[in-house]
Amino acid sequence: MLIRLAGGEVIDPVNGLAGKRDVWIKGGIIVEKPVSKRADKTYDLSGCFVMAGAIDIHSHIGGGNVNTARLLLPEQHAAHLKRPQHTPLSNAGWSTFRTGCLYAQMGFTTVVEPAMSPSNALHTHMELADIPIIDKATLTILGNDDFLLSMIRDNASSAMIDDYVAWTVSRSRALGVKVINAGASAAFKENIRTFSFDDVVPSYGVSSRRIVEVLQASVGRLGIPHPLHVHANNLGIAGNAATAAETIGASNGRPLHLAHLQFYGYGTEGRRGFSSEAARLAELVNGNPDVTIDVGQVMFGQTVTISADVIRQYSGMRTASPKKSVLFDGDGNGGGIVPYRYRQDYYGSLQWAVGLELFLLIDDPWRVFFTTDHPNGAPFTAYPELFELLMRRDARNAKMAELDQSALELTTLASISREYTLDEVAVMTRGAPAKLLGLDDRGHLGPGAIADIAVYRKGQDIQKMFRDAALVFKNGDLVVRDGVVTHYRWGRALRLNPPSDKGIVKRMQAYHEDRYGLSLDWFTFPDSAISRENPFAEVACRS
């Protein structure tokens, strides 16, 4: 079927397209305007913006830790409802089903789960397979696992490291590699309570810095499009901007992605010894073109923090709200689930401001990514509110007037006049994520792209515009109309399949039999285990 989206204002910075023009879809793909052919179906998009479907590069939407959070907090669901809560009878906020629907309603069509434990890959992909409409992807976690740490300790060759990384990415069906507080979870099992970038995992004798460097280099050699995704040390601690600065400095001119930088934007100034260092970090990011970051914006209200940074989550347990939490010593990283309420007090106000400072002081929208680190900074359903804060200075000022002024005085936020344009929003949420993840087939509206398209009705109310997309197409199927899901379909999980030496399979087989007394079959699975048609779509590594 030939579909014509007629008369909308196209915002497609990747292809340099702007202004009123038609978009044509055939067979789920965006095509050139056909010569002498009439559309089978035409949508009049007068008064609307047309963008590619949005891509979220860092949102905890599935897997063992996310499910444990659901289990721990049946009362959490209200926080994941749309804001304002105009559906009081709905109490299912963050099931896999609602996750797909809520993302699609906002015009998001691809979402990355950024923290999949390799040993938990089947569970994670089973959950992702039950998220309707959108495409998904995962980043597999390495850097606290015995096999890798032992290889680094024993000065294994680059080829051996690469084989292991490639095998892990491939067998866990991941789109990239993430390292979470490198070495700290292993150290915590040996009762180490703080762990910085140059600290050493006791029984392996390798530092966090070394682990990051080894993985960063391996990801590069393997041609994995997404740079190593780094959750740095000392998350949430006053003065940790120095850690972020060290980590940025260690990128050594090679691509590196720093996750949720807001949680590292803290200095030690002020009466409470907790201040903003966002301006300094933004300057560092601006000066290091190989570094990308996502923000992890904090928004106010109840949420739950979900992280494989076990050492951090343990220290956060004392501020759990409500007073219950889970700490999980798993293979490699494990995880911690700590519910938390961000209040408009000194600390909450400062964290909120730090995130916005990073968004607004990092110049290049191709290198700063739109996230709340769902649900750690806020549920993703807060995105429309965040879009407004970025695009309207008056909205920021109005919110700032409600907050703790002593905290805001230690930030530069009041002095920033920048407002994101729609073009910049399209870069940050479409073009840039696609480029960062190596997804050439999306993030833009050029011929050949898959027809993942979000249409928004123009209006003064930015929150409403982004909360309820006028139309959303996924692979050319109309799935949302006026913010309501009209058609359900199953997306795929995007994955890499980097080649590795066949010998690694034998080594892993021997390792699992020797250490666990179990064959490798216990830890691997065929695609058919997902029980959906074509559950995966392969993305090419760079040669």
Partner: protein, 363 residues
């Protein structure tokens, strides 16, 4: 021969059609489930379609295990990590026989992380706690700690007080050995399964919170039934809630009392029971007057059931996905003896298809 209406053998499509009619007509259907992950996925989707309330077949055993996670949380570990790292294993109370092979494998190994070492075992016992099985005890050489006069929650309370150097008026067997060993352990792990009371779970996790203030310790939770725990996980990701959950309002509602299937049947709230089990030799409880649809391994119709459909078992007749305590997550289960018996997933798919032509009643 895989389907019956009453005691009459019928082709499978006929049984599916009859079951779909019953489901469509029902105003308050209840489901009791026991299947692999795919079976549970399909059954929960069916429950949503027909507005049913669901629980595990052995839901009563799950209540406290689910409540541990919804109400308390705590410290947990995988069995694989325990195998490699635990220098002390403390078995708390009774552990179901189904997990004894796992305990034996732990007893047959020693920790290699962070370095090779020995592993010591304790068994915390209360007045109703059984001794470890002979084979396990011979391997583990567990030292009993506890009291034959006190319930297990009281024993745990005394141990917690003692670990915190508080005085307790009761003296437990081998308490000094226990306290000394745990105080010097690098990574002690408390192994527990389903307690019948919330107090024991709270006290155990409280003890772990205390220990972790200065040293590391964690717990290995072994659910009473791996398949049941798989169903808990599936329900949680699909609906946001563990069982007991229902779709009587259209949206999932989690309420352990309201959605207690046994209570709903006893109180005559339910007007149809769909009972599913992949286990051999297990039949649904017979309840007169309540139409029942049964998916079972049995090769004969279930007495009193309106419809019986014979199904295969995941990992035996067909491939499946199951929860495994051995690795603490889901694993792919390849068919050991592939057969033509249909999976729960296949039967439910056919039911859903048949229901598309029916006008489903709402509660």
């Amino acid at each position: 021969m895989v389907a019956w209406i009453g005691s009459r053998t019928v082709p499978l499509p006929t049984a599916i059609e009859q079951a779909a009619k019953l489901l469509a007509k029902s105003r308050c259907p209840v489901f009791s489930l026991d299947s692999d992950i795919h079976g549970c996925r399909s059954l929960i989707a069916l429950a949503e379609q027909v507005g049913a309330t669901y629980d595990h077949v052995n839901g009563r055993d799950l209540v406290h295990q689910v409540a541990l996670h919804t109400d308390i949380g705590g410290f947990f570990a995988t069995a694989t990590e325990v195998q490699r790292r635990a220098d002390v294993i403390v078995v708390v109370g009774d552990v179901p026989a189904v997990h004894h092979d796992l305990l034996l494998s732990l007893a047959a190994t020693t920790p290699d992380l962070p370095r090779s070492g020995k592993r010591r075992w304790f068994h915390i016992r209360g007045k109703a706690t059984l001794a470890l099985s002979g084979k396990l005890q011979r391997r583990a050489k567990a030292v009993d700690a506890g009291s034959s006069d006190l319930p297990i929650d009281a024993v745990l309370g005394v141990l917690r007080a003692s670990l915190a150097a508080r005085k307790a008026s009761v003296v437990l067997d081998n308490i000094d050995a226990f306290l000394g060993t745990v105080a010097n352990a690098d990574f002690p792990v408390f192994v527990f399964s389903h307690f019948g009371d919330a107090a024991s779970l709270t006290m155990l996790q409280g003890m772990l919170i205390d220990i972790n203030k200065k040293r590391r310790a964690t717990a290995l939770f072994l659910p009473s039934d791996d398949d049941a725990w798989g169903m808990v996980l599936t329900s949680t990701w699909m609906t946001g809630f563990p069982p007991r959950t229902g779709f009587s309002t259209g949206s999932p509602v989690y309420d352990p009392w309201l959605c207690d299937v046994d209570r709903m049947i006893a109180g005559e709230e339910a007007d149809l029971h769909l009972w599913v089990s992949e286990r051999d030799e297990v039949d649904p409880p017979r309840r007169s007057g309540l139409p029942t649809i049964v998916l079972t391994r049995s090769d004969r119709p279930v007495a009193g059931a309106a419809v019986t459909v014979r199904i295969g078992k995941a990992g035996l007749d067909h491939d499946g996905v199951v929860y495994s305590s051995r690795i603490g997550t889901l694993r792919s289960a390849v068919a050991k003896a592939p057969s033509d018996l249909p999976s729960v997933y296949v039967i439910v798919e056919q039911l859903q298809h048949a229901l598309q032509g029916e006008d489903v009643a709402s509660c």
